[in-house]
């Protein structure tokens, strides 16, 4: 079962110009008439614009409503294909579709629907506002899904664990010629390094100290390089082990340009050992060592911006990522992997923790997305050559209150604390942007 690419519609960026419809009509009908386009943008009556377009449903209703077997979900591409040779023009498919995604083209005299232009949709190309986006995340999922999962099944992560997804996908991509370091934290905690003599992965894996991950990996990598063997040195570390007690070895390895990919899964604390504070824990957050009581209300300091510190090391590559933006993550993973063959590559992934942050597992990706959309975390990429670039600028951020309210660890926040966080977000974005404006 494959995952599929999709055309996403960002209503907030649509100004209703209709260029997409013209482009579609030109591409599909050799006419300029927007009425003949296979997507229809229209005012939704509430001040913004809606879209009628085939969603290429996973379990489509139009297909079983066709009496002539003229519609078919292509399981390779995900496109619902219409076969003119079989279509009997009965329009029953339009009854099945609740989204006006397959409609009668009166001029053509038959139903028409979006086919995503074979992977390069004309509408997306035309839209100047970024309201239409061709999401190729699925292509990446398929590619990665076809690769071997190098962790054993049945890791004992918490329900809905973001980290497990992240590490499985990462290792699939990085591949089997890898030595994996998993310092104490959730990654080994769920069994990745094995248990009682058993192993949790299909690649060589070890459990460094919380303090020496980068150093041990450097030793491994140097020896293989000396032997002329192409082996990727990969760390899957938590924020505590990277930003706090492991920072020295991280900093040293980065300064020496040791060739490795150091991926930090930032769940804002020591979640494996019972949710204690780390220097990446944000201001105001409840943890078991920054409790909420009469005298204090969560952490009283702001989080350390570890990825920006890594930029200060002029690493071969530094980037931040989020599991809510997997296309972005995969692009960065690829870049980081390449960079790790010539220097120190650092990838910082913001990873909500359903257990430690107190929210329902099903909201994991939503929480990750809200963090980005409120600028609570900022996605960017850095190389010494190109400098720092924002990869997902959020110019009109959502109120951070919505993000904070989704998480139990912020339930106690006072309005003053929320104001502090809002202020910090502004300052942090400014700091990142200042880096971005600096010449490399």
């Amino acid at each position: 079962m494959a995952a599929y690419n999709t055309i996403a519609f960002h209503a907030d960026r649509c100004d209703g110009c209709g260029d997409c419809m013209t482009a579609c009509a030109r591409a599909k009908t050799a006419s300029d008439s927007p009425r003949r386009a296979r997507l229809q943008v229209l005012a939704d009556g509430a001040g913004s614009f809606g879209l009628a377009m085939c969603r290429q449903c996973a379990d489509p209703e139009c297909v079983p409503n066709c009496p002539a077997a003229a519609l078919r979900k292509n399981t390779e591409t995900g496109i619902i294909e219409w076969d003119q040779a079989k279509c009997v023009n009965c329009l029953l498919c339009t009854v099945g579709c609740s989204y006006a995604g397959i409609v009668l083209d009166e001029v053509a005299g038959h139903v028409v629907k979006c086919d995503q232009c074979g992977g390069d949709p004309a509408c997306v190309r035309t839209c100047g506002n970024g309201a239409l986006e061709y999401l190729s995340t699925a292509r990446i999922y398929n590619e990665v899904g076809a690769l071997e999962d190098l962790f054993v099944p049945g890791l004992a992560g918490c329900q809905g664990c973001n980290t497990e997804l992240l590490m499985r996908h990462t290792l699939r991509r990085v591949g089997p010629d890898t030595v994996l370091a998993a310092p104490p934290g959730c990654v080994p905690g769920m069994g990745a390094v094995g248990y009682n003599g058993m192993t949790g992965t299909k690649v060589p894996v070890f459990h460094p100290l919380l303090t020496n991950t980068a150093a041990m990996l450097a030793g491994v990598k140097r020896v293989y390089k000396r032997k002329g063997r192409e082996v990727t040195a990969l760390a899957l570390a938590g924020d505590g082990g990277a930003a706090d007690v492991g920072f020295q070895s991280l900093s040293g390895a980065a300064e020496r340009g040791e060739e490795m990919l150091f991926l930090v899964i930032d769940n804002e604390g020591y979640m494996n050992t019972g949710m204690q504070r780390s220097s990446c824990t944000p201001y105001g957050a409840w943890t078991t060592t920054t409790p909420v009581g009469r005298e204090s209300l969560g952490k009283s300091q702001d989080a350390k911006n570890l990825p920006l510190l890594m930029v200060g090391h002029r690493c071969a590559y530094v980037a931040t990522a989020s599991t809510a933006f997997m296309t972005d993550f995969y692009a960065k993973l690829d870049n980081a992997l390449q960079a790790s063959k010539r220097g120190f590559a650092y990838l910082h992934v913001y990873s909500p923790c359903t257990t430690g942050w107190r929210f329902p597992p099903r909201k994991n990706i939503e929480v990750a997305r809200k963090a980005v959309e409120s600028n609570f975390v900022v996605l960017w990429e850095y190389t010494p050559e190109a400098g720092l670039k924002l990869t997902h600028p959020v110019d009109d951020p959502a109120p951070v209150k919505e993000y904070l309210e989704a998480l139990g660890k912020y339930r106690h926040l006072t309005s003053e604390q929320i104001a502090h966080i809002e202020h910090h977000i502004v300052a942090n974005v400014a700091a990142v942007k200042q880096q971005a404006s600096a010449q490399p």
Partner: protein
């Protein structure tokens, strides 16, 4: 129990899911079951000795629009992939709910865990004196269609009994193949139940103009006989009609005769609840054979249309497999789409306006355009259109969701398609 009986039971074939029927409801149920239960054994028994196909496609086989080899909805590979045993050419002849045994027409007995009755309907043959002696066609199976198609070239004057969808399609096909066609309809209009009289008149007009079809509505056949020129039908209050081909399209009736003695409650069809369960535990029914609550007044109704069969089949399958995401059947809504002589007609909802309903009609007979909207307390009750584009699926949702259109009333009445899309975009996209 005798030893031989015990042996028989022991060797009896068993299937977790048995689906009787192989058309839209059956296939939708099978799909729904497999989404949840990948392992349970599944058997589909179809009357016809063919891969599944849709009766709805048959008029197009008759016309030649559809290649009879390409109308099949599934192939063997699909059943293999779904690990489903597809037994075609067999019908259920008996169901023993107590033992959960179904008997097929070859005498074999199948023990089932759960049974779906999606046996569909068969054509109704009117009880007209002399009818049993005249040759006539029906159109329910692929063989029917191929037989009818074979007759087209040599048919000069065809009589179509019944102006439902089957009859109208056939009339169009016969007309296009060069035959003179006479349609005889008992009720006062063509396509009763789907379109109101005014719309029906527009449609009928197209038949008369473009197809030179003669339409007798409000007309009862009182006798039939075979004559030298073919079949002669005597009409009440009119001259007899003679044709060298007679097609009976006088409606269909659920196939329920094999259920006698089973204890499964039937009215005109098999009575089912919102989960498509019959009165007997472990047995479901869906599609043309099922009689479920009407959307409008909860009366059990037959709603023999394709989208309804798909929906009921899916609901039955989900319930059979224990899919916890199941939402119950929201009731039968009449709906259809119809293309004829290059025109298009859509009907969604009930054409019977309740008391106090607001009825808006825009009609342009010359342009053959028609639009009728029935609003009941600001909510869409039914919408009917000819040559006026509508998103039928969106309209169906508006009906079923009982969406209050009041805030958009004027826009909806002016541009129902655009307003519908705006509502869709806001409410459920």
């Amino acid at each position: 129990m005798l030893k031989s009986e015990i042996t028989q039971i022991m060797v009896m074939e068993r299937t977790d899911y048995l689906i009787a029927g192989a058309s839209h409801a059956a296939l939708a149920a099978m799909h729904a079951i497999r989404l949840v239960d990948a392992d349970g054994s599944l058997t589909v028994v179809g009357r016809d000795r063919k891969l599944p196909y849709s009766p709805t496609a048959l008029p197009y086989v008759v016309s030649g629009r559809s290649d009879s080899n390409l109308v099949f909805l599934r192939d063997d590979a699909y059943f293999a992939l779904a690990r489903t045993s597809y037994r075609c050419g067999h019908a259920l002849v008996r169901v023993e709910p107590a033992n959960r045994i179904a008997e097929l027409d070859d005498g074999s007995r199948l023990q089932f865990g759960k049974l779906l009755l999606a046996t569909g309907a068969r054509p109704v043959i009117p009880s007209i004196p002399g009818f049993e002696a005249v040759p006539y066609h029906v159109l329910r199976t692929l063989d029917d269609a191929l037989r009818l198609r074979a007759e087209l070239p040599r048919t000069r004057h065809a009589i179509v009994l019944g102006a439902g969808l089957i009859g109208m399609h056939a009339a169009e096909n016969l007309s296009k193949s060069g035959a003179r066609v006479t349609i005889i309809e008992l009720q006062g209009q063509v396509l009763p139940g789907y379109f109101d009289a005014e719309a029906a008149a527009i449609i009928a007009g197209a038949f008369e103009r473009d197809g030179h079809v003669t339409i007798h509505t409000d007309t009862r056949v009182i006798a039939a006989e075979a004559g030298p020129q073919g079949v002669v039908l005597r009409l009440q209050g009119g001259p007899p009609v003679t044709g060298d081909l007679l097609l009976v399209g006088a409606g269909v009736a659920p196939v329920v005769d094999f259920l006698s003695g089973s204890g499964i409650r039937c009215d005109r069809g098999i009575l089912v609840d919102a989960s498509m369960r019959t009165s007997v535990e472990g047995i479901w029914a869906a599609g043309d054979v099922a009689q479920a609550a009407s959307f409008y007044d909860a009366r059990p109704v037959l709603n023999g249309i394709l989208p309804n069969a798909v929906e009921q089949g899916r609901i039955a399958g989900m319930d059979m497999a224990g899919d916890r995401t199941l939402q119950g059947y929201r009731g039968a809504v009449p709906l259809n789409t119809y293309s004829y002589f290059g025109r298009h007609a859509v009907s969604v909802g009930s054409a019977t306006a309740p008391p106090g309903a607001e009825i808006i009609v825009r009609s342009d007979a010359d342009a053959e355009r028609y639009l009728k909207i029935i609003l009941d307390e600001g909510r869409l009750h039914g919408i009917f259109a000819i040559n006026t584009p509508l998103d039928a699926g969106v309209m169906w949702q508006l009906v079923r969701r009982r969406t209050d259109l009041t805030p958009l009333r004027d826009r909806f009445l002016a541009q129902p398609r655009e307003a519908g899309r705006a509502l869709m975009s806001r409410l459920w996209r």
